[in-house]
């Protein structure tokens, strides 16, 4: 299974990365009914995504994955706000700092260069309008084609993805979940964007459909050569799809490595736990479960946020935040137990 991940176009690590995230911090600030607090959903995260790379982001639910990608694509709506850091894209040699862009510039980049696939839910497409209207609203202005050519392009695109162009006349609720998600993916890729963010694109789907959708995403990546930021909590999906995976715990990146490295030699105790919890054929031993619950982001533990649940926890872990350390090229980890305590 893991070999499949290498079937797509290999990432181009030589040219400038498509996405550079630097020390990004984004909090939810709430002031209501006596509770004035910050929820540190994204806390000091840095990462890069190379051209043509599929970068996976993994982590338990409510670990800040979704906030991270919202922040990265600039979909920031109160009470979420960015506290610090930068997000820079590189499209066709041109740099775009996403927080420096004016709204119309940002709007111009969207879909043409930067596209997004949402978690497959009922409500991703406007429920009261036919699907063709969504295609028109999203893509028409970005493609600069006349109407007839535009619709031909859309239909060709759908056919290429094995979708009947008849879906254009349907309402979202008339489609099955899988169809809807595939249509959404078609919509997200119709402009052949350089960067696609996929947020749990297969989570709500059953296993068979999941496979179809993943295959479809891979095909698209192969055809377009786009970079992906692929977010899912499901490690087996990462194993199938991602070139490189970053593990997020409680708003922080704790480990990052190429997929094979991560699955064979994860160093962070949390990553090890995630990998170990994957089912293996023929293994009948009980999975060791992690004690405790994921921490509250409103009131996170001091020091390393994982320390209350960590089997290797040391004194320092509760006092200081472990720095990100490069263990090998393209393998970083933030753990005192791994990198050695320095006080």
């Amino acid at each position: 299974m893991q070999t499949e991940a290498l079937l797509h176009t290999p990432p181009d690590t030589t040219s400038e990365p498509t996405l550079v995230v630097d020390r990004l911090k984004a909090y939810y600030t709430t002031k209501a009914f006596g509770i004035d607090r910050d929820i540190r959903a994204v806390d000091d995260i840095s990462l890069t995504v190379a051209k043509g790379e599929i970068y996976g982001v993994a982590g338990e639910s409510s670990s800040g994955k979704t906030s991270l990608i919202k922040t990265i694509v600039g979909a920031i709506r109160p009470p979420l706000h960015v506290v610090g850091g930068t997000v820079r894209f590189n499209f066709g040699g041109q740099n775009y700092d996403i927080y420096d862009l004016k709204p119309d510039q940002l709007q111009a980049i969207r879909w043409r260069h930067l596209s997004y696939i949402m978690q497959g839910s009922m409500n991703v497409l406007n429920p009261v309008r036919r699907i063709k209207h969504s295609f028109y609203d999203f893509a028409y202005a970005h493609m600069g084609l006349d109407r007839a050519t535009f619709w031909n392009t859309v239909r060709d695109h759908l056919r290429r993805l094995d979708l009947d162009p008849g879906v254009l006349e349907s309402y979202p609720h008339q489609l099955s979940g899988g169809m809807r998600q595939r249509t959404t993916i078609a919509l997200a890729t119709v402009c052949t964007p350089e960067f696609i963010v996929a947020d749990e694109p297969t989570t709500a789907l059953d296993v068979i459909v999941q496979r179809d959708v993943l295959a479809m995403l891979r095909d698209i990546q192969r055809d377009l050569g786009s970079s992906f930021l692929f977010v899912t909590h499901d490690m087996s999906v990462h194993a199938t799809v991602s070139d490189r995976v970053g593990i997020v715990y409680a708003g922080r990146l704790v480990e990052e490595a190429d997929t094979p490295t991560l699955f064979r030699g994860a160093r962070h105790p949390y990553t090890q736990h995630l990998v170990a919890s994957l089912p293996k054929i023929g293994d009948t031993t009980r999975r060791a479960s992690l004690s405790g619950r994921p921490p509250s982001l409103a009131d996170p533990p001091s020091g390393c946020r994982f320390h209350p649940r960590c089997p290797l926890a040391m004194d320092i872990c509760s006092k200081e935040v472990p720095p990100m350390v490069n263990l090998a090229p393209r393998h970083r980890v933030a753990c005192f137990a791994v990198s050695g305590a320095t006080s």
């Binding site: 694509v73 979909a75 709506r77 940002l106 709007q107 111009a108 980049i109 969207r110 879909w111 043409r112 596209s115 997004y116 949402m118 978690q119 839910s121 409500n123 991703v124 497409l125 406007n126 429920p127 009261v128 309008r129 209207h133 969504s134 609203d137 999203f138 893509a139 202005a141 970005h142 309402y171 609720h173 919509l187």
Partner: protein
């Protein structure tokens, strides 16, 4: 299509039920009245004129016969329905033998006109402002306007109409405060007539709009702020869809469905408001007629007015109900 027909049939059943229950209740309530239309009529005749006791007895007998008040309650009920189905509401007792329907239909266009125009204005105004206020949450002008309208919204129609009457009738007397047009107006359609009618309808319509717009505004603002957090709005924003388009085709289109349902449910209340406003401003229409009929003990007219209000409002609700699938394709699938 079949699903839609079933939907329409079900709504139609509900319409019939509402009309049946409402009118039956109205019939029995109105026939419990101690007011004797014959006695009222005699009072009207003899109030100023001569009266010979013997003659009054005779008059009583004649009128009872004439008004067709014989028969027990159930027989009268059956007669009432059989006539109503043919569109006949019977003769008015205080304007005998003029048919009730003729009296009502003379006044009805005014009520319907005022109600429709005021409802449309307040619905559009309230929803537009509400959508804008919910979407552009930082605009100060919108905040002030919304606050003003929301503050007016809980005030009863009568009180607001009364305040407007004081303001524009006495304190700053610039607008006519009574009637639907000037005395001796030439009632053939002309620009002057339209202008005159408009001028007379400003205050009543204003009362209705000021009260009505606020509640649409609050509803729409809340809906908008909920809808903007929906996935499809986020998705559209991420898709680089222009904000005007998002507001119009994504936010408002989706908010329209509950707002229209809301409109259907509040039509009864809007109708009340219209009737009350008519009374305050001496505006022609069925409001004044209703009060007149009550004072004259004319229960055929009271019954006719109440029945017609119920039928009218119920039909309007029905129409809005069956139109809503056009706005929201999901409804007929339910």
């Amino acid at each position: 299509m079949a699903a839609y027909m079933i939907f329409v049939a079900r709504r139609f059943g509900q319409l019939l039920l509402v009309v049946f229950l409402g009118i039956s209740a109205t019939f029995f309530i109105s026939h419990m009245t101690p007011v004797d239309p014959v006695a009222e009529s005699i009072t009207a005749i003899t109030n100023f004129g001569k009266s010979d006791p013997e003659a009054i007895d005779l008059m009583r007998k004649t009128l009872t016969e004439l008004y067709g008040l014989q028969g027990n309650l159930f027989e009268q009920y059956v007669t009432f329905w059989s006539r109503l189905i043919r569109g006949d509401l019977g003769p008015s007792l205080s304007a005998f033998p003029t048919p009730v329907s003729q009296i009502i239909f003379r006044a009805l266009p005014w009520t319907v006109g005022l109600m429709i125009s005021a409802t449309l204005i307040s619905f559009l105004l309230g929803n537009t402002l509400g959508a804008l206020a919910g979407y552009y949450r930082k605009s100060r002008i919108l905040k002030i306007v919304s606050l003003g309208l929301i503050g007016l919204q809980p005030i009863p129609y009568y009180v607001l109409a009364f305040i407007l009457l004081i303001l524009f009738g006495f304190v700053w007397p610039v607008l006519p405060i009574t009637g639907g047009y000037e005395m001796n107006a030439d009632l053939t359609l002309s620009f002057t007539l339209v202008l005159d009618i408009l001028r007379h309808s400003i205050l009543p319509a204003m009362a209705l709009v000021l009260v009505g717009a606020g509640s649409w505004l609050t509803g729409m603002r809340a809906l908008t702020s909920n809808i903007v957090t929906e996935d499809y709005v986020t998705f559209a924003e991420l898709g680089g869809v222009g904000s005007t388009r998002i507001l119009r085709s994504y936010v408002v289109r989706n908010a329209m469905v509950p707002q229209l349902t809301g409109l259907a449910m509040s039509l009864g209340a809007i109708f009340n408001g219209t009737v009350i406003t008519e009374i305050v401003f001496g505006y022609p229409g069925i409001g004044t007629l209703l009060i007149n009929a009550v004072h004259a003990g004319d229960y055929s007219l009271v019954l006719g007015l109440a029945s017609l209000s119920i039928i009218g409002v119920a039909i309007a609700v029905f129409l809005i109900d069956i139109l809503s699938p056009l706005l929201d394709p999901r409804i007929k699938a339910e």
